[in-house]
Symmetry: C2
Subunit: 425 residues, 2 copies
């Protein structure tokens, strides 16, 4: 992975990081790297995620999905970190598998989706570490019922990833379902390279060995200086820009296959760093489409944005046919990829021209090795940023209040505090 932070420096951008400030920050990166390396060596909670390139067991995943590999459709039942990793891998790399993530409890959507699927030809992958996630378990109960109604033996089509104890483990044991252990010490949002997401990738034809080899290359590249490590260069600059006023990080991949990656990034960044009044707000975007939506704001709005531009260095061919339409001579004989790359470079230059900081991230291609590297490096960037902010990167305490309140409401046990109301209708 190649990270170019030139357009995030103070010579180009406001806010921007000066060369001296970057040198001073590099001392803190060295200390943070020591902390991270210790955490990895001891497989501490959270830091263990960065060991997945070695600890993941692709053969076990492949063995678990092999009896189900004849299905044309996969339904992941999970939410948040239990769904986004799989969707990211399949949307970027999947080859022909009809994939759906059931990651919300909207009755209209669930009904429509189940009515559309051929359940006899569908694998259901249920993912919940605790085995008690309300949305996931409710959806699973509905799906199981729908399979029974369709005359499908759900025990033949269901795969489970969960912790070593709990509801889902008991259920899997009782019915002899294939079950994979959720990785120890790895929060959901850091679990894309584990049993949480790899089964979906395997069913979608992704080469797990290549994916993990890419991640291992990221691990091997970790080092005590941001100038030697692309992951840390990205994490350090994002942090430095945030504390200088770039409180929004717009993730703008120029590849449709990476649209879900931007969503995965948004979860990782928001839930890991959004603590103690700190944390950069991720904005999900897609190039070139969002040039016609968000770029006006990025260039001319408040000076509170870092734009992260991601692209593959190679793309498949798709020639633009010749035409006699007026004013389109500049397109003719070209290729869609050439047009997309010209827009990438022009947009990057247009941000620099107006002094908006951007970082360029380049991958060899949208392939398994590059994606493994990208996910690992962005995770490492996030862990580094967490060290620099001094927050608890691997927990999400602020969501517990709402979970408890929702359970209380459903049990009829608890009332919510009275709400201030000012209705206009």
């Amino acid at each position: 992975m190649r990270v170019d932070i030139g357009n995030a420096l103070a010579a180009t951008a406001r806010p921007g990081v000066s060369a001296d400030a970057l040198d001073r920050l590099d001392d803190r990166v060295a200390a943070a790297h020591d902390r991270i390396a210790d955490g990895m060596a001891d497989s501490e909670f959270g830091y263990a995620a960065l060991n997945l390139p070695e600890t993941a067991d692709p053969a076990a995943v492949e063995a678990a999905v092999e009896p189900l590999a004849d299905a044309d459709t996969l339904l992941t039942v999970g939410i948040g970190g239990s769904a986004l990793g799989a969707a990211t891998l399949v949307d970027a790399l999947g080859d022909g598998l009809d994939y759906h993530a059931l990651d919300n409890v909207d009755p209209a959507h669930v009904r429509d989706l189940l009515a559309d699927l051929d359940l006899a030809d569908t694998v259901v992958h249920v993912v919940s570490r605790s085995g008690t996630t309300a949305e996931t378990l409710a959806n699973f109960l509905v799906v199981r019922d729908a399979m029974a109604d369709a005359g499908v033996d759900w025990t033949e089509r269901t795969l489970v990833t969960t912790g070593v104890e709990g509801n889902l483990r008991d259920l899997a044991d009782d019915h002899g379902l294939p079950v994979l252990d959720a990785p120890e010490g790895v929060p959901g949002r850091f679990s894309a390279l584990s049993t949480v997401a790899l089964p979906a990738a395997a069913l979608a034809g992704v080469d797990l060995d290549e994916l993990l080899a890419g991640a291992a290359a990221g691990r091997d590249a970790l080092s005590g200086s941001l100038y030697d490590c692309p992951a840390y260069a990205y994490g350090a600059v994002a942090y430095a820009l945030d504390v200088r006023g770039a409180s929004v990080n717009a993730m703008l991949p120029y590849a449709e296959g990476l649209e879900t990656f931007a969503e995965w990034f948004a979860q990782l960044w928001a839930e890991s760093l959004g603590k103690d009044g700190l944390g950069q707000t991720p904005a999900r975007a897609l190039g070139a489409t969002d040039q016609h939506s968000q770029l006006q704001l990025y260039r001319a709005g408040p000076r509170d944005k870092l734009v992260t531009m991601v692209r593959p260095e190679s793309r498949p061919d798709c020639a633009i046919p010749e035409t006699d339409l007026d004013g389109l001579d500049y397109l003719a004989g070209g290729d869609l990829g050439g047009l997309l790359d010209a827009e990438f470079e022009a947009t990057e230059a247009s941000l620099a021209e107006s002094g908006v900081p951007s970082v360029r991230v380049e991958l060899p291609a949208v392939d398994a090795h590059s994606l493994g590297r990208l996910l690992f490096d962005i995770e490492a960037a996030c862990v580094l940023a967490g060290e620099l902010y001094g927050v608890e990167t691997f927990t999400q305490p602020a969501v517990e209040w709402g979970k408890d309140a929702a359970r209380g409401l459903l049990r009829g046990e608890a009332d919510l505090p009275e709400k201030d109301v000012l209705v206009v209708e």
Copy 2:
């Protein structure tokens, strides 16, 4: 539409709007409304969008699509405002039509999509007011070629929306294609209720009369006080919170069908208001899914957010089956919609508990009338906010630099300014 701004007031939230400040702001709303009403009366550029409930001609749209209505698949070829309105309507209300928006020029995606479609059974709707939008025209040339390769007469399957002059108009005239006029004086991002998006909705089985009746109800509700007009209540509070520090507006619908609406909102808000260093940054979200992704940041991160929570008051049924799984007694016998609503209310209360401002927007249902009302009211809110900021709501000058630079690159005529480079790899 019902807008509850109680949780955005200073009694609950920081930042929050005090009751006195809201009263003072209402004088400015009255003046802005006069300006908007004048613009509508004179069909001025941009303001003309708010006349679409009356000026749109659903019968003409239905007549244009009628000969194509046997197709199972629709492909919109457009970008930005020429695609998002159609996607918003079809994703919320469409019934069974296989819908795709070709709104990017990624060669991998375009190739895969065209390989998957049965082009003989596909309607192509090409949308570009100017007839020269690079991405749209390049994609159209590729699609036309693919149809020819598949032995399909593209002139039998193509519908055009464009201006009264230009490339696409000439093309349509030369080949006798059905063609609809892009609405006069209506910027793309305000064109969801026009010939730009209504053809897709009609093909997807949406009741255009109901949709426009909902919008007309929004128009009829415009008045000189935010206390009497939900659209203005929303626009005024969003503006007031932004200038008090809520520089991010997280659009969080609790309905899968409104996921694309959040994207449409993000375009409308960003491109209309992101000017002169001003403008609130939209963040696209989805409830309940993003409780497991963004909520940690919203509650515990920087105090720079307004959370806009949208939900329908009625949902279809989808019962949660009984279960003997441990700890899930509170779900049993309930309904997915009840779970989703409990999460909505618990999340809203959890934001209030931590002092984060939110606004609640409620629709009777996700149906044509309600969606027409929602789109109209959010457009009116945006126009009002533009008046309060004092920006040029209806233009997007900051994107021109990049468009020119991309054309220059592709023509081989212009070099970009030299880039600052600091590469880590």
